[in-house]
Subunit: 341 residues, 2 copies
DNA sequence: TGCTTTCCCAAAATCGTTTTTGCATGGGCA
DNA sequence: TGCCCATGCAAAAACGATTTTGGGAAAGCA
C-alpha cells in the first residue's frame, strides 16, 4: 500500500542507495538517473518514512514547546494562543514542526524523558514549576538544545529570550507617576513562579527609580482562576491607604479586574487606574480599553526558534541571553490621580 | 553519552533482546532478570530512542492537529487556544502527544506528505481550504485515521465531531423571536468556508421554523481581520429595513461588533441585540456581556481524540458522525425589540 | 532412563531510510 | 598500449530499538 524506496528501486531496476542519493541531491548520480528517479517517485506517490529517516539522520525536524504550569493555570489565554501560533509559524518557516507538551506541571521528569528519547530536536520552555532546574540540568547533560521563554535564567549556560520586564515596569510606573499617582499597587502571579518574582523585582526597581518607597502591602498575588484577581484587588483596596493605580501581571488578569471593578461600581480610570501587560487583542476591545505594555510576542517567538536551531547547529556556541524592548500603549484605563487633581 | 539498550545489555551480560523484553513486560523473562534490568535502566538513565522505536513499531504515539485556514485567519483566538489545549490534554491522557500543523492554507498537499511519511498516527482536521477534499482522499488511501472537527462532512467514510449548529441557530433565533425580533441578521465567516455555509443553512432553517421568511440581504460575511466585522455590520445597518438583532458566526466577531457599535454610539441591547457563538471566556467579560451559544469544546476535543484512536485500533470500523448539543447563555447583549415594545 | 514440556535467554531478522565503501566502466593522457 | 582518474552505480553497513526464531537447561512424567 505505502510505497517505499525499494519500490522505486525495483521499478527502475536501480539500487535503493542510488534512489536515495538521487532524491537527496548527491552529486554522484547521473542527471538522467536523477530525472527518472524523481519522476518515478512522483508517479508512485513516494514520500520517505519519517521514522526511518529520523533514525538514520538522528534528527526529527520537530521542536517541542513545553508549557510548565501547575494547576493554577487552568486555562490558556490569548497570550498563549498567540505565542503558540507564532512559534509554530516560525518553526514551520524553517521546516520544523511543533510538538506541544502541556500539563507538565505535575512531573518535570517528563522533560528528561523527552530529551533522552530524542523525540524532538530542541525544546522551548515556558513556565515554571518546582523541580524545574533539576530537570533542565538533565537536558543539558544529553545536549538537548533548549531556550527558556519569558524570563531570565541565572545559569549562564542556558539560552533565554524575554521581554524587558524592567523597562516595562519603568514605562508603566512612569506613566502613572506622570499622572500624579504615588500609591501604585502591583498584582502579580503566584509567588512561587519565577516569572512573578522577576516582575516583582522589576516593579520595586521602577518604584525606586521614581523615588517612591516600596510598601510590601501593595503587592498582591493572583492565579488565573476566575475570581482570583478580584480577590487580590480586594486585598489592596482594603488597605488603610489603598492604591490609586494598579499595575497588573498580565492583560488577562487586568481585564478580570476591570470587570470586577465594574461590578463593584467603581469607575476606571476615574477612581482607579489600571495598567496591563502583554497587549493581547482583547485589551483594546474591553471598556474602558486597557492601557498596557506591548509584549513583542512575535519577536520572542521568532528569536526563540532561531536561537534553538542555531544551538543545534553549533552546540558549543555560547548561550544567548536576549532581552527585548517593550512599548507602552496608552488607552483608556489610566487617568490623572484624583487626589492629585 | 546517550545510553542505549546495548549499554544495559553489556552492563548486565545479557542480550539486547532480553533487555528489551524485560522492559516491555514480556512474560518469558525471569522476574529476577526483569528486576535487574529495570534497576540498571534506572541507574544508567536509559530511555528508548523514540526514532528507533517508532520505526520498528510502525507508530509514533503522536497525533497531528492541522489548522487549515487561509490568510483570512490572521490570528488565533481564544476559541482555538482552548481547543488546542483541550486536544493536547486529551491526547496526553492517552499517552499521545500533539503535533501542530498550522499555516496549511496555501498548500493542502502538505497533508498528503504528512500522511504518507507517517509522521503522526492520526490527524485532526480543523478548517476548510480549497482543494481540501482531494487532500483528504489521499489520506484515506494510505489509511491515515482522521477526524474533521467542527463541521459535518458529506462523505460517509469520514469521521467528524461538531457542535449542533442547527440547534444553536434554533436557540439563538428562538431567543430573539421571544424578545419580539423578526428582522434578524446573520454575519457569517467567509462564504467559501464550509463552516460558514453550514451555519448559514442552520440560520435559514431556524428562521423557517419560526415562520420568518428568509431575506438574503440580511446575511453578511466577515473575515477575522480587525475591521471586517464592523464593515459587515455596516452593510446590514445600511439596509432600508435594517435588522433589530444580529446573530454572529462567533464570539470573537461578536465582540468586535460590540466594540464597533460602541464607537458608533449605538447602544446594545437597547438599539440592537447581538448573539454570539462559542462562549469564549471574554464573552462574559465585555460590556455588555455577550449573550451567546455555548460550544462544548471540551467534549468536542475529547471525542475527536477518542474517535481518532479508536479508528487507529480498528481501521475497518464504521465512521463516526457526532453532533453535540449546545446551550444558550443569556447575558446582557439581547433585549426586547424596540419596535415590539 | 528417555522423552516432552516449560522456562529463559541468545541470535538474527526486521523496520525503511541514509551513508559509507567498493567496484566496474570509460575517457584522458603519456 | 598502459596507467590513472573520474564517473555512476551496487552492495553493505549503519541507525537503535522490537519481534521472531531457535535452542539449551531444567523440570516433569512415564
Amino acid at each position: 500500500m505505502v510505497v517505499g524506496i525499494k519500490d522505486i528501486a525495483a521499478h527502475l531496476g536501480l539500487s535503493t542507495s542510488t534512489v536515495s542519493r538521487a532524491l537527496n541531491d548527491y552529486d554522484d548520480v547521473a542527471p538522467e538517473t536523477v530525472r527518472r528517479v524523481r519522476q518515478a517517485a512522483q508517479e508512485l506517490g513516494y514520500y520517505p518514512s519519517a521514522s526511518a529517516r529520523n533514525l538514520r539522520r538522528q534528527r526529527t525536524d520537530k521542536i517541542g514547546l513545553a508549557l510548565l504550569y501547575g494547576s493554577a493555570y487552568t486555562t490558556f489565554n490569548e497570550f498563549f494562543a498567540e505565542l503558540i501560533r507564532l512559534v509554530a509559524a516560525a518553526a514551520e518557516k524553517r521546516d520544523y514542526n511543533l510538538v506541544l507538551y502541556t500539563g507538565m506541571g505535575e512531573d518535570p521528569c517528563r522533560l528528561t524523558r523527552i530529551a533522552q528519547s530524542r523525540e524532538v530536536d530542541g525544546l522551548l520552555l515556558m513556565g515554571d514549576v518546582p523541580g524545574l532546574d533539576r530537570a533542565i540540568q538533565s537536558l543539558l547533560v544529553v545536549g538537548m538544545p533548549l531556550v527558556v521563554i519569558g524570563r531570565p535564567v541565572n545559569d549562564p549556560q542556558i539560552n533565554y529570550v524575554t521581554a524587558d520586564a524592567f523597562q516595562a515596569a519603568r514605562l508603566a510606573i512612569g506613566h502613572l507617576v506622570e499622572l500624579g499617582h504615588r500609591r501604585i499597587g502591583y498584582i502579580s502571579f503566584v509567588p512561587t513562579s519565577r516569572y512573578s518574582q522577576h516582575r516583582c523585582a522589576a516593579y520595586r526597581s521602577a518604584l525606586a527609580e521614581y523615588g517612591i518607597s516600596f510598601d510590601e502591602r501593595l503587592i498582591a498575588y493572583a492565579s488565573l482562576e476566575a475570581e482570583s484577581s478580584g480577590r487580590a484587588l480586594d486585598a489592596l483596596l482594603a488597605l488603610d491607604e489603598p492604591p490609586t493605580a494598579v499595575y497588573m501581571f498580565n492583560d488577562r488578569m487586568a481585564i478580570e479586574v476591570l470587570r470586577y471593578l465594574a461590578r463593584q461600581g467603581m469607575r476606571v480610570p476615574d477612581q482607579i487606574s489600571i495598567v496591563g501587560f502583554d497587549d493581547i487583542r482583547s485589551a483594546g476591545m474591553v471598556t474602558p480599553a486597557l492601557t498596557t505594555i506591548r509584549h513583542p510576542i512575535a519577536e520572542v517567538a521568532g528569536q526563540a526558534v532561531s536561537i534553538l536551531l542555531a544551538q543545534r547547529l553549533d552546540p558549543t556556541a555560547a548561550a544567548v541571553h536576549l532581552t527585548l524592548p517593550v512599548e507602552l500603549v496608552i488607552r483608556e484605563s489610566t487617568a490623572v490621580c484624583r487626589s492629585a487633581r
